[in-house]
Amino acid sequence: MIAFLARRLAGLALTLLVAAGLIFALLDLLPGDPARFILGVNARPDTVAALRSQMGLDLPALERCGLWITGMLRGDFGQSYTQGAPVAALIAERLWVTVPLTALAMLLSMALGLPLGILAARRRGSPADTALMVLAQAGIAVPNFWFGMLLVLVFAVGLRWLPPGGFTPWQENPAAAFGGLVLPSLALALPQAAILARVMRTALVEVQGQDFIRTARAKGLTEGEAIRRHGLRNAFLPVLTILGLQFAFLIAGTVIVENVFYLPGLGRLIFTAISERDLVLVRGAVIVLVIAVTATMFLVDLLYAAIDPRLRTASR
């Protein structure tokens, strides 16, 4: 188990290192001089040169990349030159919106999708199963941000139960902050739940036909007990794969859905940074997204190994 963990950790570190190098190289290709951008076109060349060396821009690219990566390890993501603040602080502030939103959406989609999928598999062929699978088919086809717009129309404009958008900071009013995240998380969660329900159902139906379930039944377990004790654990492997992928995409989806509800999350920060060509900020935000996605994949790998001991020894 320790060898497995070490191998996976090394893989994670290597992926992040290569990704950081790639992101740095891509954004470094860009013509344009941040020092000149800050000082304006009329600045004297020696002033620009002084600022360049102060910002470390006169160092070779490889050294700057190394400094950026070692800086990040200490929590220093650089300085945003359009916002005049440390990138790490800017991102951290936005994560107070993005992380709870992603987590809430993930929990909701699991709480809805998994039981419904199990229900559909247990009552295969019933009207409830058919209805659920039609819903799942629709859920897969609905863009989450458009679904968010529909939710606003129904629950904010029509019923006036929840605010149509905006965000009250947690420190001011936690209840209002939470209220602002309800509709966005539903918009993210429901299409995901549809996919999860479908995968859960397929996996469980598959498992129900396996010999070991028949054996468990033969030894006297009821159908329900056999599924609970032997079926779910096996059915959960494909579900876990999808969950991992979904979480990765949920992070990207969150960035998009934040737009519908005018939430001050990571998405808004990134889009402002792009339009203002704040490369240091774009670089920092992108690496944070990449870290989130790779860390999720890593966790899924570990969970996989926890559920299926065979995978701990296989090198794949």
Binding site: P143, M149, Q246
Partner: protein, 286 residues
Amino acid sequence: MSGEPSAGRRFWHPSLVVGLAGAGFFVLLGLVSLVWTPYPIAAIDIAGRFAGPGPAHWLGTDIFGRDLLSLVMAGTMTSFLVAAAATAIGMAAGVPLGLAAASWGGPVEWLVLRLSDFLFAFPALIVAVLLSTLFGPGAANAMIAVGLFNIPVFARVARGGALGLRNRDFVAAARLAGLGHGAIAIRHLLPNIASLLIVQATIQLSLGILAEAGLSYVGLGTQPPATSLGLMLKDAQSLFLLHPWLAVVPGLAIVLIVVCLNLAGDGLSDHLDPRLRRLGAPRVAA
């Protein structure tokens, strides 16, 4: 090829018929927009803005009085174009990688698997953010961003399919006949995984439509004066509380296209190879 004729292969699966007909209708709508739309998509008519559906404008008009039907037609074309280009990129790079991994194994396979793991760490949104910062936003970014993400998808499907065939008799026979790994992959493995690839292409096409919409909606994809279904939703964003119709029309078009493509994909996999139904390829939107 094994496929002895069976009853299931001869008749067409209903979801395949409905899905293909529906998707075909939208493709046709897009193609027609290249030569004709009810109104030019740039035709502005401020006096006639926010009109509801009626005989003059079947789907109504937007904030500039532009005809929504014309915009949907042109937008469908763009959305399909982006999704198709992205699928083509994914197939062109992913299938050879997957086949190479399955054929040569060893370090080649290790490298392909690590590369595809690596690409999975870059959802289309992240690549689109990088490309938009580098080159400015545009539909080409969306194609590349979604296309890059499609590469590991096709690599895995091709590898998985080919691994299942590696020990079959006809592959052994080809090897005995003196064919190398490359020739076996192209002549014998590729035709046998074609149905798998076609089904996956349908799925990636529908995911591509969704991804294009998301990217254009946040301003990283298609830019005016061109239009796409996602861009129409971006335009509707600030207005939909007062004029919900502007968001409903392009959104419904997206949903219908994706449902049709998914139905076609499901039907196709049943039609081409009933065994595929069990595999349940992952479907997650970017």
